[in-house]
Symmetry: C2
Subunit: 298 residues, 2 copies
């Protein structure tokens, strides 16, 4: 990881941690168990990839980070809710997430379902209501539409449904790609798109380039995740290693071989960089981020 990116990653992680903390309900407010669970799942964990993308896009466009704190939080709330529900016994049935027991293990299943539900509502509340988002009402509505579509039945939730149905079946490459474009790609793109919506009168061509960049790194992120699931270990990952193989889930290494999967990640990285050609050094963080995604070890 470049030094500049490392510093920026730390900056974003600190920043979003504080922003999330102030937007989550206090544990002392009723219902306390639910609020405790929300804070347990959201705070102190994760790479914060999506918030960092939001901040880095804002940075590239010359937008003050203050203006996108609410966006970064909204997208992270959606991401965390999806992890909580994905980990449930009826779904992926996982015990470990971000190095901690999953929500239904630390609390109980009912609380985990409700915690996810409440975080989804909070994401939209923040986008609609948060005073720090400095965008017109019309732009906020576009952000809400973007996030709702990206997380709904034809976005993230749809991808999870396709994923569940594909367990034990042999997906081909376009089908696998379609699943990931929905399951993780849609929300990653929304992290970038919502930041572009915070920019007044952004040139549509610029927004499109950033969207294509996000689409590429969304996929490379997933290819790398599949590679790590096979090559890394549980402690480094902070989640159960080898879970995909155990669940007979389709993966890039399974379809392309390990070398083929690594080449695919590299190609997607290069395509991502190509889409940033319209920018000068102001997009260096986005470039470094794309490289980091395919080089990370967890």
């Amino acid at each position: 990881m470049s030094n500049a990116l490392k510093q920026y990653l730390n900056f974003c992680q600190d920043r979003v941690e504080k922003a999330l903390e102030t937007r989550l309900p206090n544990e002392k407010i009723l219902p306390q168990k639910l609020h405790k669970a929300m804070r347990y799942c959201v705070l102190d964990g994760g790479k914060r990839m999506r918030p960092m993308l939001t901040y880095a896009t804002a940075n590239t466009l010359g937008i003050n980070p203050d203006a996108v704190d609410g966006i970064a939080c909204a997208v992270e709330f959606i991401h965390v809710y999806s992890l909580i529900h994905d980990d449930l016994p009826a779904m992926d049935d996982d015990d470990l997430r971000r190095g901690k027991p999953t929500c239904h293990v630390a609390f109980d299943e009912a609380t985990a379902i409700l915690t996810g539900d409440a975080l989804q509502a909070l994401a939209f509340e923040v986008l609609a209501h948060d005073a720090t988002i400095s965008a017109s009402a019309e732009s906020r509505l576009l952000m809400i539409t973007t996030l709702a579509k990206a997380s709904g039945s034809q976005g993230m939730v749809g991808g999870q449904a396709i994923d569940l149905e594909s367990v034990g079946t042999q997906l081909n490459l376009p089908e696998l790609e379609n699943m990931h474009i929905h399951k993780t790609g849609a929300l990653i793109r929304a992290s970038v798109t919502m930041a572009t919506l915070a920019k007044n009168n952004i040139e549509p061509a610029i927004a499109t380039r950033l969207d294509h960049y996000a689409k590429c790194i969304g996929l490379s992120f997933q290819v790398k995740d599949d590679i790590l699931d096979e090559e890394s270990d549980t402690v480094t990952l902070g989640k159960t290693q080898g879970k995909d193989k155990e669940n007979a889930k389709p993966t890039y290494p399974a379809l392309l071989g390990m070398a083929g999967a690594k080449q695919k990640a590299q190609e997607l990285h290069e395509k991502a960089i190509d889409n940033l050609a319209v920018f000068g050094s102001e997009a260096d963080l986005l470039r470094d981020l794309s490289l980091y995604i395919i080089q990370r070890d967890h």
Copy 2:
């Protein structure tokens, strides 16, 4: 039920059924199973109490029903998602809803979780994006904030969390009331509040009266539900009768006795009517609705 209300109820049910149908994703769009489950749970069922409240409030304020179709759908999407998740084995574990097998019985648990998640996202998408809602962008944002708060951790989801924690414990009357004000009351109030937000420059005093009306009928609805759960039968209810007692859930009849519970419902009805004193005959439907809520047999 008055003839006027009966006619209006039919009008609203037909109207919202069509509005919901056009806003739900087609079953032929991928992921088909998820979209099929969304349609199965939303369409062709329920009293549509919340949409009817939205329409009846609009009617009272002289707002065309076209302008609130999207609001009626959004509130019903949230309501249906909450039923799907409440019925899950980890929550109330119920097999029957609206006279049909519940979502996790008709499909499977994972699909039921995702169906609820997708419906919540769709609710906010509709409020942010639906072309038929004739309100300013600022008013739409207030609607979204209203719905998000009403359905979040300090609204409906919070009420469900309190409910789950109270199983087997002896709540007193204020605690029981607090639970219902959150679990069902918040969304019922939002059905009315969002309709008032569709009215340009509504007098705040009028909006407050309507909100108080909604708070009263939200509670009387719950008191009556508890009475029906004890007195009615499964076929009439369309859901499993006696479930509250079986689950050792606190109820109004358990706390106040059956006669006391019926008196409580009557008092709440009268308070609801008092709050409509500022209106003439244009609020007759809201008056009839309050009476119907405490007199219905399912």
